[in-house]
């Protein structure tokens, strides 16, 4: 018995029995706990599809485009904390997946993508549907493998899952030549148990240096104008990190802001919440960052959407940065104290030190700091006015929030103004309920991601807040939603423009709206119906609530086309090249602060 336990733990004893390669793949996926694969078949993966046919434990979701498969797996992964799984064929199947893989890499989403490949003896011969998949995906994956030996199949797949979920999560490709899938080989179980062998090279550090944590907490206790700046790393780390973060914020009384990717880690209804920061963040969040004397960055990566002009970024502050990836630290911003480790463990250690040392925040200073923040808050930087006959996009989203907040609701988005308004006006109280393409900014992300979320949470309400331009990029996934009875809701903020592009053209290019008008839009109601979904349309503000109520009451996929004010711009905004304290707060102000000089060349 002891012997059995050891072999199981180490997971390196191959089975005596022989299996066909494709069967080995399915066995490995089952052992990894995969419940759903998002995929699309083709010649090179037919043996794998044959094995899928023969079993029942793993559900295959047939998408309509391989990009959709990866985004769906991202949605599944982000909303469950598990690794998302994708299966596509060689050549065009693999190249279609590239955008999704890059998206997952930028946003640190754990994905394992199995790609078919031509038989090993044909590799390099420009065979039919051959692409150099490992070559093409090397820069857009965390790691990739080409399996040439059937006896390495199962252990490679186990390793792929380990790499995808460990440390800073990311997408991993396993390229599978057809002959390998058809050869007979032995099965190796996954390493497991607490005593499993260390990976021979990849063992990310998760436990932060305790002296560094003590130092960080001492800095916090001495701070007069502190701010927590948290990000997607908290979500990556898991719900425990969110819970610990809430405790630390409460204990210290410090204000907290978050990046786009970290929304929900600290509740938007929480007392210490400043709103999102960055280019379209709130006035109070950005000014708190600009004016702080101590910035505590936990699991955020000083992205350029967040820092604005680096020369003027939080000029009088000391900075602590906790990140699981050493390469995130001192990459864009030089910090006073960098700590490598998992943020849940770091937060736990920080709480322990704060309590053990009986630290107290400097109450007098903190009170003054909060007074200052309240003053900034009173500018009400997200203010908008809903009047007249046109629906303001902000209003549509705010009403959606009010009418869905009591239910289990997941929000995905496409990319553009509607995405930013969703971040500003939909208030998240829980982690893993907000799914958006932040790093790559991929139009077409939201609908397939919603499909992935709904697969994992059948009874939840899943809404893709979309733009009329973005939704056209992966609209075909409506068909997937219909096939699998996934009642996703596509809530189109239809401003008839690529609004974000139009906004930049207005601010940067003298209002020359080059190619940013959405000409020849389809009739979204008819389009929905053609796909077998329910189509709805609203343009009267007075009908907004009823429309939303009706939409969420329908237990089928719905496309709701909301005609909104086509000219509305998204504020506040830090123009590119500007500092946090140079925000444009609204339409009236914008002319005086147009983007000039170096800022013009930035994105």
């Amino acid at each position: 018995m002891a012997e059995a336990a050891t072999t199981e733990r180490n997971g390196d004893t191959p089975s005596k029995e022989l299996f066909v390669g494709a069967r080995l793949i399915l066995k490995a996926l089952q052992e990894q706990g995969v419940e759903v694969i998002f995929g699309y078949p083709g010649g090179a993966v037919l043996p794998i599809y044959d094995e899928i046919f023969k079993q029942n434990s793993i559900r295959h979701v047939l998408v309509r485009h391989e990009q959709g498969a990866v985004h769906a797996a991202e949605g599944y992964a982000r909303s469950t904390g598990k690794v998302g799984c994708v299966l596509v064929t060689s050549g065009p199947g693999a190249t279609n997946a590239v955008t999704g893989l890059t998206d997952a890499l930028m946003d640190s989403i754990p994905i394992v993508c199995l790609t078919g490949q031509v038989p090993t003896h044909l590799i390099g011969n420009d065979a039919f549907q051959e692409a150099d998949t490992v070559g093409i995906t090397r820069p857009c994956t965390k790691h990739n493998y080409l399996v040439r030996d059937v006896n390495k199949l199962s252990e490679t797949i186990h390793e792929a899952f380990y790499v995808a979920r460990s440390g800073r999560p990311g997408p991993v490709v396993v390229d599978l030549p057809k002959d390998v899938c058809m050869a007979m080989g032995h099965y190796t179980t996954a390493p497991r148990g607490v005593q499993r062998k260390q990976h021979k090279t990849y063992n990310p550090k998760t436990k932060p240096d305790s002296a560094a944590i003590a130092h960080a907490v001492a800095m916090m206790a001495a701070a007069k104008k502190p701010v927590f700046y948290t990000g997607g790393g908290i979500i990556n780390s898991g719900p425990k990190a969110s819970a610990l973060l809430r405790e630390l914020v409460k204990l210290t009384g410090f204000p907290i802001t978050s990046t786009l990717m970290g929304l929900g880690a600290y509740p938007a209804s929480g007392d210490h919440w400043l709103g999102m920061l960055g280019m379209h963040g709130t006035y109070e969040a950005n000014l708190a960052m600009h004016g702080c004397d101590l910035m505590i960055n936990i699991g955020a990566r000083f992205d350029d959407r967040v820092t604005g002009n680096l020369k003027f970024f939080a000029p009088d502050s000391k900075k602590i940065h906790i990140d699981i990836d050493a390469s995130s630290i001192n990459k864009n911003v030089i910090v006073d104290l960098g700590i490598v480790g998992d943020c849940a463990i770091a937060l736990e250690d920080m709480l322990a030190v704060w309590k053990a040392k009986k630290y107290q925040a400097d109450q007098k200073a903190l009170k003054a700091w909060w007074r200052q923040i309240e003053e900034w808050k009173s500018r009400d930087s997200l203010k908008y006015v809903q009047k007249g006959k046109l629906i303001k996009p902000q209003y549509a989203i705010q009403r959606l929030f009010e009418l869905t907040k009591k239910r289990e609701t997941y929000i995905t988005t496409e990319v553009g103004q509607h995405q930013m308004w969703a971040a500003q006006f939909y208030r998240f109280d829980q982690p893993n309920h907000w799914l958006t393409s932040g790093g790559l900014g991929t139009m077409g992300y939201g609908l397939p991601a919603a499909v992935g979320v709904q697969m994992a949470h059948r009874d939840a309400l899943v809404v893709d807040i979309a733009g009329e331009a973005s939704i056209m990029m992966n609209i075909q996934e409506l068909s997937t939603a219909v096939q699998y009875h996934l009642p996703v809701k596509v809530f189109i903020i239809n401003n008839q423009y690529m609004g974000m592009v139009r906004q930049w053209q207005e601010l940067l290019h003298g209002g020359r709206y080059s190619e940013s008008y959405s000409e020849a839009l389809p009739d979204f109601v008819k389009l929905a119906e053609a796909f077998g979904c329910v189509g709805m349309r609203v343009s009267d503000p007075a009908k907004m609530d009823d429309t939303i109520k009706e939409m969420i009451s329908i237990d089928r996929p719905v496309v709701c086309d909301v005609s909104v004010d086509p000219k509305e711009n998204c504020f506040p905004m830090i123009p590119s090249g500007k500092a946090h304290n140079e925000m444009i707060l609204g339409q009236d102000e914008k002319s005086g602060k147009a983007i000039t000089g170096e800022g013009l060349a930035l994105v």
């Binding site: 090397r138 440390g167 800073r168 560094a212 130092h215 050493a326 104290l337």
Partner: protein
């Protein structure tokens, strides 16, 4: 009476905390001045990797994709039994960039260890160059004489030419090649830098 000492105590406690901050409390903390230094420095970094398909492409792709400089790069298997190769990269950049390069290399899955041979104590670095020089008469004699000074071996000769094999650090090889230019330098083939730390300790500690 009870209140007064408490009042003086609080600030002094805070002062102590602040004081603590300015001292280097733990290993691995990078001094800010070093990170803010805008000078560029040349570093030789050695990377021990699993000798698997594509590992060199990963390293080169990383440098190209992130715009890091490669002055020289060598790679060869160094431990057949364990399937390990060693990559030596000579690169240059600010301290911040060099630290980034090391962190980026460190997170590649097949990488065992990254060692900065320029920063982590003394090391030796050598490269070998084959230098072809063609000429007759006085120039030919002069080339041989300089070859002697540099302890270069003649590994091929014809009545019209020599091929020198010169070994040394990069500066020495550069100097030799410069001197050969006026003497009929035809072409050069260099191995790039191989480097190793001085002393008893191995790269894996």
């Amino acid at each position: 009476m009870a209140k007064k000492p408490a009042k003086t105590k609080t600030p002094s406690k805070r002062a102590k905390i602040v004081e603590e901050q300015s001292s280097n409390l733990y290993e691995g903390m990078i001094p800010l001045a070093r990170l803010r230094d805008k000078e560029t420095y040349r570093h030789v970094v050695s990377v021990l990797v699993d000798n698997e398909a594509g590992v060199l492409a990963r390293v080169i792709g990383l440098f190209a994709g992130r715009g890091y400089n490669i002055e020289s790069l060598t790679v060869s298997e160094v431990d057949r039994d364990r399937g390990l190769s060693r990559i030596n990269v000579a690169t240059s950049g600010t301290h911040q960039t060099i630290d980034q390069i090391k962190a980026q290399l460190g997170r590649l899955v097949p990488v065992h260890i990254v060692r900065d041979l320029t920063d982590d104590g003394p090391s030796v670095a050598r490269e070998l160059a084959l230098v072809k020089v063609a000429g007759v008469g006085e120039k030919r004699v002069e080339a041989l004489r300089i070859g002697d000074i540099f302890r270069a071996n003649v590994v091929d000769s014809s009545t019209q030419s020599f091929v020198f094999e010169v070994v040394g650090n990069t500066d020495k090889v550069d100097a030799f090649i410069d001197l050969m230019k006026p003497l009929g330098l035809v072409e050069v083939s260099r191995t790039g830098v191989a480097a190793i730390a001085r002393g008893a300790r191995g790269i894996e500690k």
